[in-house]
């Protein structure tokens, strides 16, 4: 779980912070011309790509989990917690 959280933080830093910093900082520098709408649309498309990839993976995992670990699945077996009476 810690790894997942770390990965989420890295993704946020990779995609959001640099763009925001660039958009905010570049406007203050003389001679720099920046179309903020273009930058923000770029950020949007990158976020959408990430969102759809993660969405597809998570949704697919959820569907697979439901099918694979339902108790009526022939491969289903008691969990180790059931056997140890720890649950």
């Amino acid at each position: 779980m810690r790894k997942i959280f770390g990965l989420s933080c890295i993704l946020t830093i990779l995609f959001v912070v640099p763009t925001v910093q660039y958009v905010l900082a570049a406007g203050d520098e003389p001679g720099e011309y920046l179309d903020r709408r273009v930058e923000i649309w770029n950020l949007f498309f990158r976020l959408m790509t990430v969102a759809f990839v993660i969405g597809a993976v998570v949704s697919g995992t959820l569907i697979w989990l439901v099918l694979r670990f339902r108790e009526s699945n022939p491969k289903a077996k008691p969990t180790k917690y059931e056997e140890a009476g720890e649950w």
Binding site: F5, I40, L62, E82
Partner: protein
């Protein structure tokens, strides 16, 4: 637990009791009444929008009144009281205390709801559940608007009293042998959502007073004609009600944390990450309120700050989803009705969250602002996640409340009709928004795409209505004549129950 049906008591004994399960039962019945009343208004709205032109509602003013009361009822009178009901039943048992910290205050908090309920319904205001200025100040007809303001004031105080009670019960009344780190995640959900409530709600309480004095002509806080600023009202409103979204959703996630390990026959994957995610969500809930207001002329920097603040909720929400998936992984899952609702709720929570990420990106927000996309997005949260989690938990707690089992087959039918219905209505509304249909309209031009999508959404709403009817019959019939539940293991899945009914706290 209260085995009311098996051992009935005179109704006045329950009504005037301060015992936590009795107050919980009162909350539960009130919230379900609100669910059906607010749901009936939703069905009327969808029937009206089935075709362009006036269908069953006479005029736009009546339409406005209906969706105002629909939203107010389902948020303040169904979701919040339902969460209070479950909290009243379980929190004292989970922290091993004899009752809520302040039983009389608990009963008072509940008894503030009926007058608030009556004021909202008898007034039938027309200014949407946002009550945005300047319309609410200058033009909204009284006494309906004033009754709504007083009603919300009472409901807000009730929520604050309830939140104080939950916080004190969890922090100060828990058993000395029970460290905070070991209390169940549902109790953590109530602790964090109650803290959010305490911080957020007073702002709206102040805004309501300012609105009322503006309407009375005493002040001009939000009245442009008197130098006031209507946008200030929006800031005050959303400072309360964006965090309030988390007040609503966090208990629903807590419900899933009870159900998913139980029916997966495994302990929760990571208790610590669940706690961390609740705390993170409660903090970032205050970093995103102005994303509702991009179109009000905020500066680019402000909008960027609130966009990033909104996105900060994604990792915390993802931690919950991954925790659920990791718990199910390697389990032996019984897809009884509560589990079906929880898994469906996770799927729709994820979809609603994805829509939220899109919506918070400024460029798309300008396209979707005030369109049906927004309606689809927040309904996917409140219906697809919060109500799904609540329905699941209601089925889960049903044997403990009544001593009987609900009908499993009809519970499944309720879930399937509701899941299909929710997807049909709320996904379609997203697309309708992208096709340009504005929200809060009584009539629309007969564009073929709009008509077709509205009809599709209305059929989905009818499915939701059929599911709700099945649910009502199932609850009433099963409570009266259902099979007697095996109270040690109602679903026959084994394991040790966390709150067996034998732990019933004595009445006082």
């Amino acid at each position: 637990m209260v085995l009311e049906i098996q051992k009935p008591r005179p109704i006045w004994q329950i009504m005037f009791s301060t015992h936590h399960t009795d107050v919980g039962l009162l909350y539960l019945i009130t919230s379900l009444a609100a669910l059906f009343m607010g749901g009936a208004l939703a069905l009327a709205i969808r029937l009206e929008l089935f075709l362009p032109g006036s269908q069953i509602i006479a005029d736009s003013m009546t339409f406005n009144r209906m969706f105002t009361v629909h939203g107010t009822t389902l948020i303040f009178l169904f979701i919040l009281p339902f969460a209070s009901a479950i909290g009243n039943y379980l929190i004292p048992i989970m922290v091993r205390y004899k009752d809520m910290a302040y039983p009389k205050l608990n009963a008072i908090a509940f008894w503030m709801i009926p007058p608030g309920f009556a004021l909202v319904w008898l007034g039938f205001a027309d200014f949407t559940w946002n009550a945005y200025a300047p319309y609410s100040v200058i033009s909204a007809p009284g006494p309906a608007a004033d009754m709504w303001i007083f009603g919300l004031k009472i409901l807000g105080v009730s929520s604050i009293l309830g939140a104080i009670n939950f916080i004190v019960t969890i922090l100060k009344c828990k058993h000395p042998d029970l460290p905070l780190s070991k209390i169940p995640l549902l109790a953590w959900a109530y602790l964090t959502s109650s803290l959010i409530m305490i911080v957020a709600m007073p702002t709206f309480a102040a805004a309501l007073l300012m609105l009322l004095t503006d309407r009375l002509g005493v002040s001009g806080f939000f009245n442009p004609a008197r130098g006031g600023d209507p946008i200030a009202y929006q800031h005050l409103f959303w400072f309360t009600f964006h965090p309030e979204v988390y007040v609503l959703v966090i208990p629903a996630i807590g419900f899933m944390y009870e159900i998913i390990p139980r029916f997966s026959r495994k302990p929760i994957f990571s208790h610590g990450s669940g706690v961390a995610a609740f705390i993170l969500l409660s903090i970032v809930s205050f970093a995103s309120w102005a994303h509702h207001m991009y179109a009000t002329g905020m500066s680019f920097t402000e909008k960027t700050v609130f966009m990033v603040g909104t996105l900060a909720a994604v990792p915390a929400s993802a931690m919950h989803v991954f925790n659920f998936l990791a718990t199910m992984w390697g389990g032996r899952i019984r897809f009884a009705t509560p589990m079906m609702w929880s898994v469906g709720g996770i799927a729709l929570f994820f979809s609603a969250g994805a829509g939220g990420v899109v919506n918070t990106a400024m460029p798309l927000d300008f396209i979707t602002h005030d369109s049906y996309w927004v309606v689809g997005h927040f309904h996917l949260f409140v219906m697809g996640t919060i109500a799904f989690g609540s329905f699941g938990f209601l089925y889960y707690i049903f044997p403990y409340v009544t001593g009987r089992m609900y009908n499993e087959k009809w519970g499944n039918v309720h879930f399937i009709t509701s899941f299909i219905g929710a997807v049909m209505v709320f996904f379609t509304q997203h697309v309708l928004g992208l096709y340009g249909m504005p929200r809060r309209i009584f009539d629309y031009p007969p564009f073929p795409e709009w008509v077709a999508m509205n009809q599709f959404a209305s059929i989905g709403a009818m499915l939701l209505g059929i599911g709700a009817a099945i649910f009502l019959v199932n609850m009433i019939y099963s409570a009266a004549k259902g099979k007697e539940a095996n109270m040690d293991d109602p679903w026959g899945i084994g394991g040790k129950y966390y709150y067996p009914y034998q732990q019933k706290n004595p009445h006082h």
